[in-house]
Symmetry: C3
Subunit: 353 residues, 3 copies
Amino acid sequence: MKLSTIAENIRIAAATSLEANPSHDPDIAGVAAVDEAVAGTLSYIEGDKFAQFVATTGASALILPQNEALQAQATERGIAWISTADPRLAFARAIALFYQPYRPAPGIHPSAVIDPSATYGENVSIGANVVISAGVHLGNDVCIHPNVVIYPGVRVGDRTVLHANCTIQERSQIGADCTIHSGAVIGAEGFGFVPTAEGWEKMEQSGYVVIEDGVRIGGNTCIDRPAVGVTRIGRGTKLDNLIQIAHGCQVGEAVVMASQVGMAGGVKVGNRVILAGQVGIANQATIGDGAIATAKAGIHNDIEPGEIVTGIPALPHKVFLKASAIYRRLPEMYKSLQKLQRAFEAANSKPPQ
Amino acid sequence: MKLSTIAENIRIAAATSLEANPSHDPDIAGVAAVDEAVAGTLSYIEGDKFAQFVATTGASALILPQNEALQAQATERGIAWISTADPRLAFARAIALFYQPYRPAPGIHPSAVIDPSATYGENVSIGANVVISAGVHLGNDVCIHPNVVIYPGVRVGDRTVLHANCTIQERSQIGADCTIHSGAVIGAEGFGFVPTAEGWEKMEQSGYVVIEDGVRIGGNTCIDRPAVGVTRIGRGTKLDNLIQIAHGCQVGEAVVMASQVGMAGGVKVGNRVILAGQVGIANQATIGDGAIATAKAGIHNDIEPGEIVTGIPALPHKVFLKASAIYRRLPEMYKSLQKLQRAFEAANSKPPQ
Amino acid sequence: MKLSTIAENIRIAAATSLEANPSHDPDIAGVAAVDEAVAGTLSYIEGDKFAQFVATTGASALILPQNEALQAQATERGIAWISTADPRLAFARAIALFYQPYRPAPGIHPSAVIDPSATYGENVSIGANVVISAGVHLGNDVCIHPNVVIYPGVRVGDRTVLHANCTIQERSQIGADCTIHSGAVIGAEGFGFVPTAEGWEKMEQSGYVVIEDGVRIGGNTCIDRPAVGVTRIGRGTKLDNLIQIAHGCQVGEAVVMASQVGMAGGVKVGNRVILAGQVGIANQATIGDGAIATAKAGIHNDIEPGEIVTGIPALPHKVFLKASAIYRRLPEMYKSLQKLQRAFEAANSKPPQ
């Protein structure tokens, strides 16, 4: 594909080296990381850390930031370029011109076990050994990879993809344009037990899980249904692998959670929140819109909208940075204090009261 | 169902508003969270945080704590109530009157692959594509959801439920009345490798996993078998999702572990221990009966019975609370110390020795 | 099996009690943990913590360290012994003389669904309900347990074992002599999203996962493929359960990771690195050869070869130990400082400037 064709198709306002030299419009066979790129590939540069690779990359074309020095450097090396305010987004769109993930053809594999009461729309793909229980409804263009199990009463919206070996339990409501990865468990009964003299008594989990449109659920992530009401994942939210969303959590729209985040029951997460890897959130806490928790933060209390928190227990990020900088100097500080105490005592007739 | 019928069936000593007004015995169609409840539903109030909802809930009936003010408030709003020392337990039992989780009918799906040497009791339910290997024995009323795989020599006790896509590996012994959730992996070989000059040499894991009666294993939780002996989960213990129990751990009875807890090899956990989310326990540590580890605690040493620990490394909870309260003021403390040092030096002819 | 036969077969330089008394060559029926061993079993002693069990074990034979006192004690109790510099390795080899993990016989189960374009070597074992997609190639002696799903274009090397219910996604390249445990998800699309005004836009993940020879992947571990290039796990590396390896990570050879470790995109891990349980590593960090991160460490920056780090954020281990020892005394330190400030003020006419 010609670079000029790529530039037209990535739907981003961009300057290109083709304006200066329309005849230098290389054929691009694929995309590559900048430090691995070979002739015929397109790569991209983002951030100071990668800018150095303009000098060494083997790529035939680059997506660059709006940086004239980098553009000049690329031109000098004979590298055609596209320059845009968001090189990463442009590169994402360029990848999609060359690659689409594997998607089985529509059709129902003869080994699939489908309850007669289940219904489905047009062009569904149902893979080998898929099990679909009573009352399930699948929308149009739904794609279910092999060995997925769907319990009764589940609904799956149009164009949603369920990857191999995931399990969707009873009455889960999954929106359109979702992707649920392998091994994910959606809608299993929440971890509800009440202490009694005879041990832990189960609280049945009569609620269900709602996953709105455009949600991505990572591999082996678990989203449990609650005792009453719903556990909800809002529109456009993206969850990475191995995440725990307990019974009754309410997760907003366009939230991003990195892998191994865990939240206890009844947590409320606002819109556009970002939770980095291994963050934990305690029962019933509320995280305001746009808040950010950095990796491994342990959140016990409510977090204000827009706040950035770090640490265990979580503190405002700037407070944490200052405190943790001192933390490593604690032994030295301890010694200074002792030294000062002794000096004071020596300088004064009696010890401090 | 009449509220009076519910009150009879929850098997808890309770006062009710029906004693004062037997004619106000509303029909209850279902259960609901107090802030979402509508007419015809029963809800419950527990703790100060939720007490406010008595004033606004749409529920027709409430399970209340033994609090006369709340009772009076409910009565005034025309809400029938049940009052008990343990509203949460009463509500759990009320849910069970309206809801039971999905359970396939007894029978063996024709697509199940069952070794001829496997045996099973009465009324078992074996779902589609289940694979049962040689020498497996299933008790009465066992329910195995679709796509479960059971390796050779496994025993599963009466009434135990295995959810879809879980894997039970060789020789695991699972008791009666257990629930094992989707994606769980029980009895896989422990992570045993010995360093040699040529790399890591595998130590074969010849032991097996024992899960006693009444245990609950969450989704995608892993419980490994040891090199020799057993890995044991004691009677009535409840494990949440995504937990790691390494080879040779001995977990006591009525223990509760929240999600993403991890324990290394040979850990001993006493009875009635509570481990909150993301707790980690190092090799061979012993946790005494009734101990509690709060979320994210990192335990390297033995914990005494009844002790509450917090932090990384774990400290007695009260010590941690005090230390972490100071932690955030470290920068201020550091400045105070420097200021005092300077003042001392200024006030005395020579610096502290 | 005679102890003398075991001694010959464990391929380790060792002294034995048989040299002194060739006629005391007990029959060994199996292996056991030292505190559970009964007559007829072989066990081992390693480290001071277990040395006490020489006095009480029921084992008929022991593998001992090179410690004459322990040898004499065993001899006195009538316990035959093997003495070696590495008792754990010797015991690992002894276990393997008595036990090999379950391995289905070669053959292809009739319920397996295999694309006609897939190819495979000799003596493969393909279990029930396994799904193998187009263009897959399996080497000789590959063993695939039931309900595994393999997406198109995957290659699996000789003698590799895939346990039940794992999923290998498109174009993953798996070496020889690997073991991939149940529920693991290899080669799924990495968590790549780019923020736009309309929400998170997916970056397609056109790369693939390479797993070199002799790698062990634990249960429910996830290894994602990257946008471009490869995610690589080096030869002989051993990963425990529930680990997250994000898109584009480069993990070296003979690395060991305990369970629940998580690493964000583009992390580089050198050879022979050891990551203890629940360690987290941020985007693009580089961990030098032979470095060690202790349990729960949170790594944001590059780690030098051979360095040992601890804490969140990770510090050199010795720095952390000293700082955390002071941490618990912070309240006392805070009080001392306040007391000293007051004493200074009292001793001087005006407060410190």
